[in-house]
């Protein structure tokens, strides 16, 4: 996949979490995944179509997403409620929309589909693609999470 597609998702994640949840996320170095998938307790997934087709996911541990959504809603969250699932759908929409806008400014016109939200302790997400998935690890004060981006060659 085109490596130019990676940074817009990294910077969109930072911007959206800072703006929406007042959470400082610290990005690690993106890396190619040859096999295996992201693991998490709550994930958001969205499909992307355009010059090439792709998908993006955000995968959080329970502890990390409770902290992020507490920042969004301004109240402590103790369990994975419908509010948490709605918030993860919204974050997925906003991050992919923000990245799409940045890609549009670079001349790549993508469309984004509707998000889906997955819950279930320690589920695994694999992007099915003819090219390796790129994983962008992030750390927060409530623990790590991962953004994965996959586009066809």
């Amino acid at each position: 996949m085109n490596v130019e597609f990676v940074n817009p998702f990294l910077s969109a994640t930072l911007r959206v979490l800072e703006t929406m949840a007042s959470v400082e996320a610290r990005p690690g170095k993106p890396f190619l995944k040859k096999e295996g998938g992201a693991q998490g307790d709550v994930s958001g997934i969205i499909g992307i179509t355009g010059p090439t087709n792709g998908s993006m996911s955000l995968s959080f541990s329970r502890k990390c997403i409770l902290k992020i959504v507490a920042g969004m809603l301004g109240e402590e969250m103790a369990e994975i409620t419908d509010d948490i699932k709605d918030a993860v759908g919204e974050l997925t929409n906003m991050i992919s929309g923000d990245a799409r806008n940045e890609l549009g400014q670079k001349g790549y016109q993508f469309q984004i589909a509707l998000p889906t939200v997955i819950t279930g302790l320690n589920h695994e997400i694999r992007h099915k693609c003819n090219a390796p998935t790129i994983a962008i690890p992030f750390d927060t004060d409530a623990g790590p999470f991962v953004v994965e981006v996959s586009f066809e060659n």
Copy 2:
């Protein structure tokens, strides 16, 4: 969402499972989901863009997908291996592609994104949309599975 969008996914599911896995799936009556999500042990998800944006998921119990993939690969499957995950990605691609073609013949030109495959016992998938998700239940000799389709109003 436009109810015309439902039947192409129902008939695509029947066609693809019959052709690829020699599995006879018996559809139940599609219904609107007001809340809750599909539960399964292995799911395929794909995003859809076009006249309206959407998403589709297939959610299988472990037993059901082992039987379906055994039919695809011509050998008994005993656990959720990478072959199973690849096969679920392929089924998701084929069913959504087949439905897209049928929708195209009706004058609706959609694009499909890349599939993602979720594994994890009893995970839940929710489609985030401003309209109710439509669930299409299917039964097979190896147990039930569900296709969910969600499109914006």
